[in-house]
């Protein structure tokens, strides 16, 4: 992770440029991203050149007759020369002209195959998906049977039965391809059929044929176009294969497949280049989306005993996290300081997008390499770089325990790998400490055999296997039902006492925070709004944002009244916020709030060696 702040030039100059450009060319669209990349640009240019060459072939070469297959025996088998750039073949025909005309045939076949198979596939798929039941059953069994043939083989068989010609080549390939489209369309129609707008037009008696044609098919076409584009290239290759075994278009319309065989192979380079480049459009997408991960050598973790309970395990000073997407920097965390002590649970609350998860993922080094992190971090009083070194001391408990467990390994195996031991006693002990009964049986079980609560306990067992000093639980109870939520929270509270763990509980569930947290930190727009002991902050909130948060919690005694919500939304991370971030939504805000950023001020007299109750609001009057 790049912990150094970025140069101003990169931050403003380039970012501004990028933003300016993005306004012109609809940002975010797939086409825009594709055309922006150098490879995408090159591929587009080549495809366009190819299309132009195919369409204008008769005007591009003086040997149009040769391109159509007319022999010119006196000049047979010549090497490349000024008058014949790629030489001539065994019948004296100009190879370049043949390549250009071959491209015409290839284009014709490709378009013909794709159009034919899309039409058949869409009709069959739409009918099967729309009518369902036995219609679907019969059509899909037929489709599956066609799919059982190896792709080229069915085309060979059909072409052999029909006889070789350009038209029959198209028919043969299309018949072996339509099932793919039928399946694609059917699966989309199945879900479209249940959508309200389709149910509505059916209810008012629009005939089925019109429903399918007007309302179903147009909405199911998007994935078909994607597949069809990719298939254009494959159609050319398949037609070339058919030509090769003698089942392609007759000599009058040669595909690219069959004129490369006689004469030295250099002649075949032309068609080869065409084909390869046409396919270069189908490259993998998705690079740059995955966070880059690092692995640090396993550090020796100091045992927990022998330290006073109330020293700060983790201290963070003035942490900033900025993401740098092409559209311009997004400031997710804007100067947060915090500390967590051993044996203490710190609750972190705030609306979605206020930076609570990003803050700790940054400390763990789990952000994409493009994010920049700055600030200071001390673990057990020792200065540490903020690029993931916290991993050595911390374990993470996830919101969705189903996704945090590897689905194809048993719980025992996963514990083994993390704990670095095969000793079943140790592994069983970990499961028991996480509150799982019959641990020995569970070691051999897979995650999908567990209930939601058991999975979260298994995730906690995996966390304990790392012998952490700090446990970071990111919304650990959101995916669980209410009774299980309480049990998991109590388990975390209990583990904190037993192992003198420092715990960070990230949540927007204020009830959960109140239940187990010793202290709480309220984040807003990447800044600390209020912090202090849980009963002080949640009992007597000083910051208007905390007050608003508390008011928006539904209360049983207030049944019937309106549920309070905070008007407006969290400010955009792309904007500079000169004053208090909450000012636009705050009912107490004055002009000063919008221009000057309030500092965190103590709400109560500061006790020594312990962070007290503080809020970042001008309304707070510090008692003396």
């Amino acid at each position: 992770m790049d912990s150094e702040p970025q140069s101003p030039a990169r931050r403003f100059g380039l970012g501004g440029l990028r933003r300016a450009r993005s306004r012109v060319a609809a940002p975010g669209s797939a086409l825009w991203h594709f055309a922006r990349s150098r490879l995408g640009m090159a591929a587009t240019v080549i495809v366009v050149l190819f299309l132009l060459a195919a369409v204008f072939a008769p005007w591009l070469t003086p040997y149009a007759d040769a391109g159509r297959g007319v022999p010119d025996l006196p000049v047979r088998l010549q090497g490349p020369s000024w008058s014949h750039w790629l030489g001539t073949d065994d019948l004296g025909r100009d190879v370049l002209a043949r390549v250009l005309f071959g491209a015409r045939a290839a284009l014709l076949v490709a378009v013909g195959v794709v159009v034919t198979s899309v039409v058949i596939g869409v009709v069959v798929g739409a009918i099967a998906g729309y009518f369902g039941r036995w219609v679907d059953e019969i059509l899909m069994r037929i489709t599956d049977t066609f799919l059982a043939f190896p792709p080229l083989l069915l085309a060979v068989l059909i072409a052999a039965a029909l006889g070789a010609s350009l038209r029959n080549t198209v028919i043969a390939i299309a018949i072996s391809w339509w099932p793919w489209y039928a399946r694609l369309v059917r699966s989309h129609v199945l879900s479209l059929r249940e959508r309200p707008f389709v149910k509505a037009v059916r209810a008012i008696g629009v005939p089925n044929r019109r429903v399918i044609a007007k309302h179903i098919v147009p909405n199911a076409m998007a994935p078909v176009w994607v597949q069809a584009t990719a298939d254009l290239g494959a159609a050319v290759l398949t037609a070339a294969g058919l030509s090769f075994v003698g089942l392609g278009p007759r000599p009058a319309h040669r595909g690219l497949g069959n004129h490369d065989l006689r004469g030295p192979p250099i002649r075949a380079v032309g068609p080869m280049v065409d084909r390869r480049l046409r396919r270069s459009g189908h490259r993998d997408r998705g690079h740059g989306l995955q966070p880059r991960r690092r692995c640090h050598p396993r550090r020796h973790r100091s045992p927990h005993q022998g330290r006073p309970a109330m020293t700060a395990l983790l201290e963070v000073d003035d942490l900033h996290v900025t993401f740098n997407p092409p559209a311009g920097p997004v400031r997710a965390v804007r100067g947060v300081s915090l500390q967590v002590r051993r044996g203490e649970i710190l609750g972190v609350v705030g609306e979605s997008g206020c930076g609570k998860t990003v803050l700790f993922r940054a400390l763990l080094g789990l952000l994409p390499a493009t994010a920049s992190v700055s600030g200071a971090m001390r673990v057990s009083g020792e200065d540490m770089p903020t690029d993931g070194t916290l991993q050595a001391a911390a374990a993470l408990v996830y919101q969705n325990p189903g996704a945090a467990l590897n689905p194809v390994f048993t719980i025992g195996r996963q514990l083994q790998i993390v704990a670095g031991t095969r000793d079943p006693e140790v592994l069983c002990d970990l499961l028991s400490r996480a509150g799982l009964v019959e641990p020995r049986r569970l070691l051999g079980a897979y995650p999908h055999e567990f209930s939601g609560g058991m999975r979260q306990r298994a995730v906690i067992a995996l966390a304990l296997a790392q012998q952490p000093q700090l446990l970071i639980a990111d919304e650990p109870t959101t995916a669980l039902d209410v009774t299980t939520q309480a049990q998991v929270l109590d388990l975390i509270a209990d583990l904190r006492h037993r192992h003198q763990l420092a715990v960070v509980l990230i949540s927007h569930d204020l009830a959960a925070i109140r239940r187990v947290c010793d202290r709480v930190m309220v984040l807003y727009a990447g800044r600390v709004a209020e912090t202090g002991e849980t009963n002080e902050v949640l009992g007597a909130p000083s910051h208007p944002y905390t007050q608003a948060l508390l008011e928006s919690v539904p209360r049983p005694e207030a049944v019937g009244g309106d549920l309070a919500s905070i008007p407006g939304s969290v400010p955009d991370g792309r904007d500079e916020i000169p004053g208090c971030a909450f000012a636009p939504r705050c009912r107490h805000a004055s002009d000063g709030c919008r221009t000057d950023q309030p500092a965190l001020r103590p709400v109560q007299p500061v006790k020594p060696a312990q962070p007290g109750h503080a809020a970042a609001c001008v309304l707070v009057e510090t008692p003396v």
Binding site: T145, F146, A148, F149, S280, Q290, A404, F409
Partner: protein, 340 residues
Amino acid sequence: MSGAGVGTRYLRRRAATSLLVILGVVTITFVISRIVPADPAQLYAGARARPEQVEQVRQDLNLDAPVTSQYVSYLGDLLQGDLGVSFATRRPIAQDLRRFLPATLELALAATLLSMVVGIPAGVLAASRQSRMSDTSIRLFAVTGVSMPVFWSALLLQLLFASKLGWLPLAGRTDASVNFDEITGFFVIDSVLSGSWSNFADVMVHLALPVAVMAAYPLGLTIRLIRGSMLEVLGSDYIEAATVAQVPRRTVLSRLALKNAVLPALTVLGLTFAYSVSSAFLVETVFAWPGLGKYLTDAVVRVDFPVITAAALAVTVVYVLVNLALDLVQARLDPRVKLG
């Protein structure tokens, strides 16, 4: 989890579906061969047949009878292993297939094996070094593999390794001088059984070029598939959790992530075998490889229609069976696949 009983039930149900598919395949083949052509008798007898020969064929194949009774007798013949007679050679097709099938399978299995042994590690490597030099070159290699027409790469490799360098033989399964008993029809096995090291070496050098050509497409496919599913797995919470737990990167890649990435890809990897079989027409023709593909191509050139139909049917049945086997292997390995 699955007891033996449940597993057997899955196997039985899956086998029954495959049988239905094979019946469907036979039906489609029947329709294409008897109903689609304007005059099947003419097609079967060949373009240069005399009118009385065409009549003879019409009677032999019962082509004047109603379609249903033709279909029944077609199925009956197939069940008895009777695939008809080649019009070009007058040999029973079933006998020919027995001879040519092992040659093709040997080629296709070797190509599939090669594409997996090379493709899976390459895909993992590419995914783990996303967007870096090695990733880019592996992806370039993969794109080249899936884009090259088989007959073109075959000709170029022949030109380079056989004609110019003379390192490898131009074509064929063995040298004319080499001789050993054909016991299984798989020359790799037969040459080992013959006990002669030079026989085995000769078989292997003859395999090299055709296998390399045949593997190009499936290899590219495998690399892209594994890279894609590996990237997806590497982005998951459980891999991140392992990283936070400081499980070494090597263990994460080779033990934790790989199994997740390969299992769902397994069914699709069945396609690699299909592509190998499909490209057998082209590869075997270029390398004069006496297999099913060459047999089929020769039949196409001679318009020997009974052979085309029977060979297509045989290849498809093999393909269905391979997919069945792959599904069963996947069900065995992947705990998430519900057996039942």
